[in-house]
Symmetry: C3
């Protein structure tokens, strides 16, 4: 029993022995020897908590954009999906994504978790020597990316999907689908061999989440009344203050998302790059917001706050594939195109009667592809062909597998709530708990 609980952490003392012993005899280890390890670990922890914070951002954004009768359900999904992602990524995903030398199918499929030590293989073997950073800090950081992928899905499918089938999909997505496709690039798999370039995951995280959401939206169908009589009936969100808060939270978290993806902070060059990434990330979001602000004024004669929020987010998604190389001006333009995408793709999806409650598909899928495809403009090491191959491969894989998983779950359990529950709201019907019980209905 005790062995189950104990970890190798105590061996960090041992780990120091070779260096420290030598240090006693000669000089203490210099900054060039241990500084990068310490600083990069710090980077992972700080950027990791920022990306964690994005889970709260998605929760608030989505709670604000659904109707008040579905808010408790949306909050429950967001809290539960993060917790499930954390456990699945620990139990399965991390090993699948970073197989090291232990690929089950070289470059395509990693290995599963060995539960002997209650630790993923990478973590159990951690810290035996002085890597580039603490393995646990890397795990912590990477876990947040996995959870983000799931957060993207929950928004699109809100207001009509059952809780448990959704969470079952989250299990598959965070334990298997995401780690496998991400291993192709970040685990050193075939896409990274090919030279695919996706710095912090415009495609690997955001478009992937968007493809999983799209598959779900197709299987699930639109909300009752959304496309009644061949017309698009807008269903306004219940709390735009929450939605705006969520957007600010996501914007803040994105500094960690992109900045931490430098994966190093202990040299002058690395920290300088992190600084540039922060500045570019911010300006891309600003570009996306301003583009949506101006464009909705022109098209609709009135600025549209939800479009502005999604414009900022699309700007962030767009710059995620390459936040380092563009100039500030270039980053602003890349982000602005993201904002334009949102304004045009949202009604396009509605014409296709794909009901995406929060606009996650335009923001994460379409702007994610845009961000990935524009990388070669600023990064000479990237090519359009390889970028297209990466987007197609990941898109196909995630979409097809997700579609199959959604269909199977639907056939076996049913993914859609009964019509009456949808009309009455999921909070009362499915959870028996209103989000705002003291407030009168408008």
């Amino acid at each position: 029993m005790m062995r189950l609980f104990k970890t190798l952490a105590a061996s960090t003392a041992l780990m120091l022995l070779p260096v420290a012993a030598a240090a006693q005899e000669a000089a203490a280890p210099g900054f060039d020897e241990i500084g990068p390890y310490i600083m990069t670990t710090f980077l992972f922890l700080i950027c990791g908590f920022l990306v964690f914070w994005m889970a709260a951002g998605f929760a608030m954004l989505e709670a604000g954009l659904v109707r008040s009768k579905n808010v408790t359900m949306q909050l429950t999904k967001n809290m539960a999906l993060f917790a499930i992602a954390a456990l699945l990524y620990y139990a399965v995903g991390y090993n699948l994504m970073y197989p090291g030398d232990g690929w089950a199918m070289a470059g395509w499929l990693g290995t599963l978790f060995s539960p002997a030590s209650l630790e993923p293989v990478g973590l159990a073997a951690a810290d035996a020597d002085l890597g580039y950073a603490s393995v646990a800090s890397d795990f912590f950081f990477q876990l947040m990316f996995c959870a983000t992928t799931a957060s993207i899905v929950s928004g699109t499918l809100a207001e009509r999907i059952k809780l448990w089938p959704f969470l079952l999909f989250v299990v598959v997505l965070t334990g298997f689908i995401y780690p496998i496709e991400a291993s192709w690039q970040w685990g050193g798999g075939w896409l990274s061999e090919k030279g695919f370039s996706d710095f912090a995951g415009s495609t690997l995280v955001h478009a992937a989440g968007g493809f999983a959401a799209l598959a779900g939206a197709i299987v699930l169908g639109p909300r009752i009344g959304k496309y009644r009589g061949g017309r698009v009936n807008p269903i306004p969100g219940s709390n735009l203050a929450l939605a705006t808060l969520g957007t600010f939270v996501l914007w803040l978290g994105w500094f960690g998302f992109n900045g931490g993806s430098q994966l190093a902070a202990g040299t002058v060059g690395d920290i300088t790059d992190v600084g540039r990434i922060f500045a570019n990330t911010n300006t891309a979001a600003a570009g996306g917001a301003v583009a949506a602000l101006i464009l909705t004024q022109i098209l609709y004669k009135k600025p549209d706050l939800t479009m502005i929020l999604n414009g900022a987010l699309a700007g962030l998604v767009s710059i995620t594939a390459e936040p380092l190389m563009p100039s500030l001006g270039g980053a602003t333009l890349i982000g602005a195109v993201g904002g334009v995408i949102v304004v045009f793709v949202v009604p396009m999806l509605d014409r296709m009667q794909i009901d995406d409650v929060v606009g996650a598909i335009p923001v994460h899928l379409v702007a994610g592809i845009w961000g990935t495809m524009v990388v070669p403009l600023s990064n000479p090491d990237a090519s359009f062909v390889t970028q297209a191959i990466g987007v197609l491969a990941i898109g196909l894989f995630v979409f097809v597998v997700s579609f199959i998983v959604w269909t199977v779950i639907d056939k076996v359990f049913g993914i859609r709530v009964p019509e009456e529950d949808e009309i009455n709201g999921l909070d009362v019907a499915e959870l028996g708990m209103e989000a705002y019980p003291d407030f009168g209905k408008g």
Copy 2:
């Protein structure tokens, strides 16, 4: 007058003299000489602002779990209690908690503040030599723990306690009760001598806050209508979006709470430990949330969002006594038990007619004890007997002193609002200010 305002900060220049002067002659100070000081100070500041953020988390959690007619009061209490804790910990608590060589009663009672310099003794003497970190950064970090103890109390006693008597208790708790019991362990007092092990305060902070809350709840009695006719009448919170936001905020802040408690970040071993602490803290929260999710589904046939939120928090409290040594799997299990505790203890308290509005007693007191008692399973330096002694000593001290203080305040001023005010809501009756005046009542 000027002396009152001026500090010794300017002397930080002086402080550098010995090192810097030597540096001119020989080599500049290496990373091993000044790096740990700089990195640990950074850790205190970053983790300190994260724990500060927990004050906002408690405010949102509690504002979301009370009825809308008591929200302004709950917000006022949370803002005021943090400010009061900051001042009392500065004026009295910090000295009591870290007496150094100046114990009034060795190992049991520190010394009081000497106001000559408008600084606590430790801070006035600060930075005379190169300690392990800046004293002010340590003060900043520790202050946040003191404030957390008070935040725990405010939730339990919501919706029926008067503002000023509550704040008077906060004065005693943050200026005296918390610093004294915390000095027993973290100030180098008798419990630390005994080998008690409570890494970041499952007992010292969370159970202590819970015991103070329990004493208050007993003296104060339950809300009107909560236990009418021998039945438990659930009183739903008014804004679950806020409550969920608060939980995410607390989860985020907890990385600082536990991570900063490593109290060092400038060596490979220390920063590696901080990384492991972050990962364990996260997985314990996930374990608690998932346990509560599954258990409420099984018991009530419907997942209960407030239980899930409290499950995550109980997971966090449970891992706080030992976030370093467990494996990820062990940490997940420890947190999951915390989630189970919440689901069973909440109705148990109701059967005892102890009205704990937000569930702070299960989350902080009971899970805090669980977390403390489970330490020996992963940490061989801890023993069950010593852990039990620590829990008992702190529990008894905090509960008895709190009970006496609550009783005295009640006899002298009365702690409970008039019945009519409670029914009409504290916001209008006591403060003349509604939290949501534009919204219709449900």
Copy 3:
């Protein structure tokens, strides 16, 4: 095209050459050589994201203090103003504020942006040698201060100003007015030559924002019904939970605001100073909150939550001019006076029929002046005369230019919404989108 998007970032590799090449031959660069650059860049990034977070704080504070019918508009303004500030500061402001040797009018007026590289001059030339920190991280940090100035204005003018004229003013404020006056001190201009002392911007940011808001409030006039019949009719905010959240967010962000203004973190002395700044910033806020709590209890027999929130903020503004030198006790008193100022100046402005919806003028302008004028009490290098000159010069410049700009915008476009729109609420009338459509009206 490609050149437009590409930046010099790739040359960071080159930048390392001289040091790294030398390193191969002799010793690796020591912590004293590259540590300060790395740590200070880290400080800018961490403190920069904290100050970014203040934009969310202002948004929540203001959304909570306006009536529910104007919330969407207030959120739109806050999101848009931050994005616009980011673009204008990039395109114009940064160059104007930090002209280096390129003053158009020495010490008074910097230079404009050269768009050739899509980078500000400072950034295009960045990182050619090892400065004190990454230029992009400095840009990122300073940008947030510029945006803060604009955030201050939006609160005062809420509930009656048109969106686009407001945003036009934001363009002028963030592109020109703020960068010019800030260049006088932080760009090495005439005020810094004179010995003016404003550590993190009590006057340069907060009073400046307050003066721009005051000019706008005078040109715009009060809200309909606010001063009907010679009486002051209080117009309560619609969501005090949001307002409290916003205050906590601002308090948190302020650690970055003041701490980052140390502009260095890589020596023992610097990080020690940052630690002291964090502690003083926190205690000043606490002092302001407690002062407002006690004073409103005494004056009105009931504590006033919005006064307590603004008291905390005024405490933060007050300590911003000199967060390093005061003792904790001195900082508490300085902040407490800020809280007192709020309680007295809010009704004073109302008597002058200056309608400041959120209290930004007392908090930022008046407490900003107080904080600036009290600097000489703790900092012997500052003089009352020079402080007064700085406050007067900046106040006059910002107020007069703002007044002219507001007046011109008003004459050309009109800045005030039609009376009917103001009564119906800006959300429906101007944006066609309610913030809380599902909720009944109170």
